[in-house]
């Protein structure tokens, strides 16, 4: 419990847990799995949401015939509705060394801590909706994968997995990411919690999105990256590449903020082009803010 990113016992602060009530996991892609759930389904069947009428065919159940329409048209029509089905949500957590970065103003609250908190929140939402949720920790020494499941025991397994997660190493090479392609099915919801600094993570997201997975991402930044409050001489050290750069903080501030903002804008454009919903979370913000942006009332309206 001493390594970075493992200090928080309960991942969800009480205030955030209270505000999770009016959030819902949504997917823009209809999914068609067996079972009952909240999400739209392309398969027709019994449900509340009207889909279409079709002509009666032998073998249809008599109770599906719309008798009022028969009274008007003297023909048998079968009323069909969309079948609502559960969703599989994959929480992808970047566990490379850059995720261990903290703000000096708030020691112990690293990017990885925030990612764990967000993952726990999303798992809580999924549990409440009866959706299945799984976890993938991405690190170059091996991808840890928790297969999706539903229920309280799945949540406990999920939290146990989160507790043991530490940030080190780098973003995994493409070969090590093969389990993603094997396990994440079409139409699944994928949420990547990362700093978005690795080109590999962007590539994985765009390819997943292109392969008809519903991809969402939360870019987790430290407040120091947003504000660059350094003054005086600093030796900036990149934990992943071990590069170092000497410089005076105040002198580099304007240039860095301009370049970094530009880079984020370009990245957002790429994500938008791929149809990836994205939100940004800075470590000094409340934990539910990115969730509200991703799953807020605007997107959840059609589920009401």
């Amino acid at each position: 419990m001493t390594s970075p990113g493992t200090r928080i016992a309960d991942f969800i602060p009480p205030a955030v847990r209270a505000r999770l009530k009016d959030l819902r996991l949504t997917s823009r892609r209809a999914v068609g799995l067996q079972g009952l759930g909240l999400h739209h389904s392309r398969s027709r069947g019994a449900g509340l949401e009207f889909a279409q009428y079709r002509a009666y065919e032998p073998g249809d159940e008599l109770r599906q015939i719309d008798w009022k329409l028969y009274a008007r048209s003297d023909r048998f029509f079968v009323r069909e509705a969309e079948r609502e089905s559960p969703l599989a949500a994959w929480l992808l957590i970047d566990a490379s060394a850059s995720m261990a970065q903290e703000d000096k103003a708030r020691p112990g609250w690293s990017r990885l801590s925030a990612a764990k908190g967000l993952a726990a929140c999303i798992a809580e939402l999924a549990l409440r909706q009866g959706d299945r949720f799984g976890l993938v920790a991405l690190r170059d020494d091996g991808v840890r994968l928790l297969a999706p499941g539903a229920g309280l025991r799945q949540r406990d397994r999920f939290l146990l997995e989160l507790h043991g997660l530490e940030a080190r190493g780098q973003w995994p090479s493409p070969e090590k990411l093969r389990p993603l392609w094997e396990r994440i099915g079409a139409g699944d919801l994928v949420v990547l919690l990362s700093d978005g600094f690795d080109e590999g993570s962007i590539e994985v997201m765009t390819r997943l999105a292109a392969a008809r997975r519903e991809v969402l991402t939360v870019r987790i930044l430290t407040a120091e990256e947003r504000d660059f409050p350094f003054s005086g001489g600093h030796r900036f050290h990149d934990p992943e590449t071990d590069e170092e750069l000497l410089g005076d903080g105040a002198a580099m501030r304007a240039d860095f903020i301009a370049r970094f903002t530009q880079a984020r804008r370009e990245l957002d454009a790429r994500l938008d082009a791929s149809g990836i919903r994205h939100a940004e979370y800075v470590l000094d913000q409340p934990l539910d803010l990115p969730l509200r942006r991703l799953f807020g009332a605007r997107d959840a309206a059609e589920y009401a």
């Binding site: 990256e225 005086g232 005076d248 105040a250 370049r259």
Partner: protein
């Protein structure tokens, strides 16, 4: 009031002010390691601006102040014109100070005693010269200070002439019952004992004549003249030893214990002291030399006691001259009526010695040092980077 420095060259030590500044800047230049994953978007400036920046201003200022004060201390600052200009009242010891207090409400009242203690303190009994104290007081007071002096009607230890001060003195005479000291007794004429070797008996007549001349004319006193074998009477004060060769040990012992020994030119004395001329002839050559010897004195003739060698033997003033050489001069009279002793004006004016600021500066340095320690070690201070 104006500030001056006795050693202005020591102000060069102010260059040491650069020391804390340089240390401060050197400490700032060290680089703090910072984890920063977004290094890709961070670019080293082609010319990194090194702005001179100070933090912990209060501590730096206090340290600079400390060094500046030490440099000032080396330069020996003095303050001109810081003296008080209120009237000054000096009271000779032994006088009731009550009337002196009533001279002026603003006046400073002090005893006229060494160190000039305040009138509230008890003046130590002293026989310091009143004239000397007045001159010191006059020299240490600024020109425009009005000086009032209370003296008893009879002044002891006065100078031989009226003193001249640089200012007009308000000379107040207070009648005081004169101390009932015993009148000085008349000094009895000296008596001299002569011991001579037989072959020099002729020389003793001059000494006997001189010794008789010292006595009152009708006293009928006799002069003890004998050969050197004769013992001395126990109350002998002066002895003329007219003999060649070494002076015997018992005579030297007697001289050491307080006697006055007058030696012949040929007499030798071991452990002879350094001689000082006491009596010179017209040509300036010494006739009688003398020196202290133990608790007593030793004198000797530089010529043999014969008129051919020393014509002064036949002089009518020989007894007075010899007596003057044998006896220390009597003190001049030093008691005077205060009314006759009012100081004159027109004496020399002295520049007032400036006040030395070093002790106050040292105190200030100690206080600033304490402040510096407090600032440097207080817990409010941020963790040193």
């Amino acid at each position: 009031m104006s500030l001056a420095f006795l050693i202005p060259a020591a102000l060069a030590a102010l260059a040491a002010l650069l020391l804390p500044l340089l240390i401060h800047l050197a400490r700032r230049s060290e680089q703090r390691p910072t984890a920063f994953a977004a290094l890709r978007w961070l670019r080293q400036k082609p010319k990194p601006r090194h702005r001179i920046r100070f933090d912990e201003w209060p501590l730096l200022i206090v340290r600079l102040l400390l060094i500046a004060l030490m440099a000032l201390l080396l330069a020996r600052p003095v303050l001109h014109g810081g003296e008080a200009h209120t009237p000054y009242v000096a009271v000779a010891p032994g006088i009731d100070p009550a009337p002196a207090r009533g001279v002026s409400a603003r006046a400073r009242v002090h005893w006229l005693a060494p160190g000039f203690p305040s009138i509230d303190a008890a003046p130590g009994m002293t026989n310091a010269s009143l004239a000397s104290l007045l001159r010191e007081l006059d020299a240490t007071l600024p020109d425009d200070v009005k000086l009032t002096v209370f003296v008893p009607q009879r002044i002891d230890h006065a100078d031989g002439r009226r003193i001249a001060l640089s200012r007009e003195v308000d000379w107040r005479i207070v009648p005081v019952a004169p101390p009932t000291d015993a009148m000085r007794k008349a000094v009895p004429p000296p008596a001299m004992v002569v011991r001579h070797a037989t072959e020099r008996a002729a020389a003793t007549r001059y000494l006997r004549a001189a010794a008789l001349a010292w006595q009152p004319p009708d006293s009928g006193a006799k002069v003890d003249v004998a050969s050197i074998e004769q013992p001395l009477s126990p109350n002998t004060k002066r002895l003329a030893w007219i003999s060649a060769g070494s002076v015997p040990g018992n005579i030297r012992e007697w001289a050491r214990s307080g006697g006055t020994l007058l030696l012949d030119v040929d007499a030798k004395i071991e452990d002879a002291p350094a001689w000082t001329p006491l009596w010179r002839d017209e040509a300036g050559d010494a006739l009688v030399e003398g020196a202290a010897y133990g608790r007593g004195r030793v004198l000797r003739f530089t010529r043999s006691l014969a008129p051919q060698a020393m014509p002064q033997l036949l002089d009518p003033t020989f007894p007075q001259q010899l007596r003057a050489a044998l006896e220390p001069p009597a003190a001049a009279p030093s008691r005077v009526a205060a009314a006759e002793y009012k100081p004159l004006t027109g004496g020399p004016t002295f520049a007032i010695a400036p006040r030395d600021l070093q002790p106050w500066l040292a105190l200030l340095i100690a206080l600033v040092f304490l402040l510096e320690r407090w600032l440097a070690t207080s817990s409010r201070r941020a963790v040193a980077p």
